[in-house]
Amino acid sequence: MLEDATPEMSLLELLDRLNDQLCEQGEEPIAFESDCREGVCGACGVTVNGTPHGPVPNTPSCRQHLRAFGGITKLRIEPLRSAAFPVVRDLVVDRSALDRVIRAGGHVDVMAGTAPDADDMLIGHADAEVALDFAACIGCGACVAACPNGAAHLFAGAKLAHLAMLPHGKVERTRRARAVVETLDEFGPCSSYGECVEVCPAGLPLTAVAAVHREGLRAIFKGK
């Protein structure tokens, strides 16, 4: 029970205050993760009253402010829930399953030579915008926690869609698709619930899920 919570507080500041109070009482503070606290790093992530990140849609835990909670004063704060995310301690979960997706193909690994002239490789403005929209994923894992199937298609699809559109990413397109699709076995299947897009702080669209299958099917038909 916190008596001195104010509307300006963010969810994490509320936890900070709760921890201060616990320490004053000589008790152990509650462990939770955060870093930037401005919605860019993806380190934060708790479940509030059953919803990953909290009641405000498409907003990371660190940007969830009490003033936007619409009168909810009783908060049940849990870790992000998924079989792929074992709880480390209190509100901290192990999200290395996401790292395995990135290691498999969420990067570009080609010999790019020395820095080329700026206009050597032209990328259309529209393509650049779409690629950047998919690149907005901060890797928080809320999509997996929101999914009734525990799927990571939104996350993986964002990487695949982003990198498949850019010149350096294209070089490894087939290999990347195979590797990433294989790592998805660790998660569940997508049934188009659409719960992920409700919580995603980057506002990724469900099109990212289609990108997983587009890239996967393309890799199958490519052979070798």
Binding site: P148, P189, S192, A210, R218
Partner: protein, 213 residues
Amino acid sequence: MAVTGLLFVGFVVVHLFGNLKVFAGADAFDHYAAWLREVGYPLLPKQSVLWALRIVLGLSVLAHIGAAVTLWWRARKARGRHRRRLGGAESQLAGFMLPGGLVIALFILFHLSDLTIGGPGASASFRHPDPNVHAYANLVASFSRPLVACFYSASMLLLAAHIFHGWRTLLQDFGATGARLRRVWVILGGLIALAVVAGNASIPLLVLAGVIS
């Protein structure tokens, strides 16, 4: 899942066109039913196309249900011990695919027994082709039973919901990322679902109302 689902949608739409012949009268409907038994003749033996369709659809139903159970099991394992509250309408529909699909499976069994096989659940006056088909009379006799008519209509509502969400899922499974295609596809799915309820479910209700007799 996606391939068999698409096949079923194709089948349901063709089946719907066949059913609508009810509105053209008993002769047109029975004539169509008789034609179904000999499509391809004389090139192919009578009933061969009918049986080929039955076998393909039967195997597809088994594959579709098998895939549904596999996906359900994988999802259960991946989710862990925690239940999710479902949010919007789309999410509710997704959650309803398996229960709704299982009711559709029961409906298919009943429907075959009622109007094809004349087994348990068929009306007292059911008649096999002898060789004149009696499809129209069988249908009217069956749907004159209020409980059966309501079950048919309600099943069509479930089927429409299944098709609406399944159709949308096809976009994902076939990897369609184009924005315009995705918009048009969803609208098309809505129209198909609407046609299935409006066209099919109206028949038992109109029999009950005495309009079709």
